[in-house]
């Protein structure tokens, strides 16, 4: 049988196209958040395992490498949340015209960066307190 083209065709589009960039970044951030679920459940299990086990886990989760993980999760959360809401709006049949979609892509980026700064600042304050 002839080799048929298989989706998705990542290499045939210009990455500078905002449609491709916003879409693939939504997937990518979703995958990061899936990995975040492992961290969340590990933490929940640690809480449930008593004070000693929790302190051990807390030490592991406070390691330098995890600060990078939390930063990544925060970026992923902010973007995936706002971009997801854009998808929900699309599902109602609104905002699908080219000009509207281009504008909403910009709005998503601006709002997710604002959210990131807000939560990042809060996390920074909380980390200083803990």
């Amino acid at each position: 049988m002839r080799e048929r083209p298989l989706s998705p065709h990542l290499s045939v589009y210009k990455l500078s196209r905002y449609t491709l960039a916003t879409s693939i970044f939504n997937r990518f951030t979703g995958l990061i958040l899936s990995v975040g679920l492992i961290v969340l459940v590990y933490w929940l299990m640690a809480v449930a395992s008593g004070t000693r086990a929790y302190e051990n886990a807390h030490e592991i989760l406070s390691a330098g490498i995890f600060k990078l993980v939390y930063a990544g999760l925060l970026v992923a959360f902010c973007y995936h949340l706002v971009a997801g809401i854009r998808h929900l709006v699309w599902d109602t049949g609104r905002g699908l015209e080219r000009a509207q979609s281009k504008r909403s892509a910009g709005i998503v980026i601006v709002i997710s960066i604002a959210l990131l700064l807000l939560l990042g600042y809060w996390l920074f304050l909380a980390a200083g307190r803990a």
Binding site: G30, S49, H58, L88
Partner: protein
């Protein structure tokens, strides 16, 4: 040319996969639920005075916290399972590898959901002090 599909087949729109909008619809339902749930979780966690065991347990053992956490874990793992599934289906093209990855990812998500709920319930019923 006259279509070979039966009128019932056309209106039900299920095609050869025998599946319709189930995946799509659940992905939407879970994403709607996750908007308030994840915001609540982030705000609650950041509002805790500290992350030591006593503080976390006192927070997690409250009925509403435990309830919302259980809903969050279940909805988030389901949403994640649906999303990761599509990524695997899109990017892994060999059937054997695709099936193996899908089975592994599904088991992993089920384990995460059960472990998360178990941990929350254990704390909520006072089993973690």
């Amino acid at each position: 040319m006259k279509s070979l599909r039966s009128p019932l087949g056309v209106v039900s729109g299920l095609g050869s996969a025998k599946g319709g909008v189930h995946h799509w619809w659940l992905q939407r339902l879970t994403s709607i639920a996750l908007v308030p749930l994840t915001i609540w979780f982030t705000v609650s966690l950041l509002s805790l005075p500290s992350l030591d065991h006593v503080t976390v347990i006192a927070w997690m053992a409250q009925s509403w916290t435990a309830l919302l956490l259980i809903v969050l874990v279940l909805v988030a793992t389901y949403h994640s399972q649906l999303g990761v599934r599509v990524v695997i289906e899109d990017y892994i093209h060999t059937t054997g590898m695709k099936t193996l990855t899908l089975v592994t990812v599904t088991f992993a998500h089920a384990l995460l959901a059960v472990a998360g709920v178990f941990a929350i319930l254990k704390v909520a019923f006072g089993g973690a002090t």
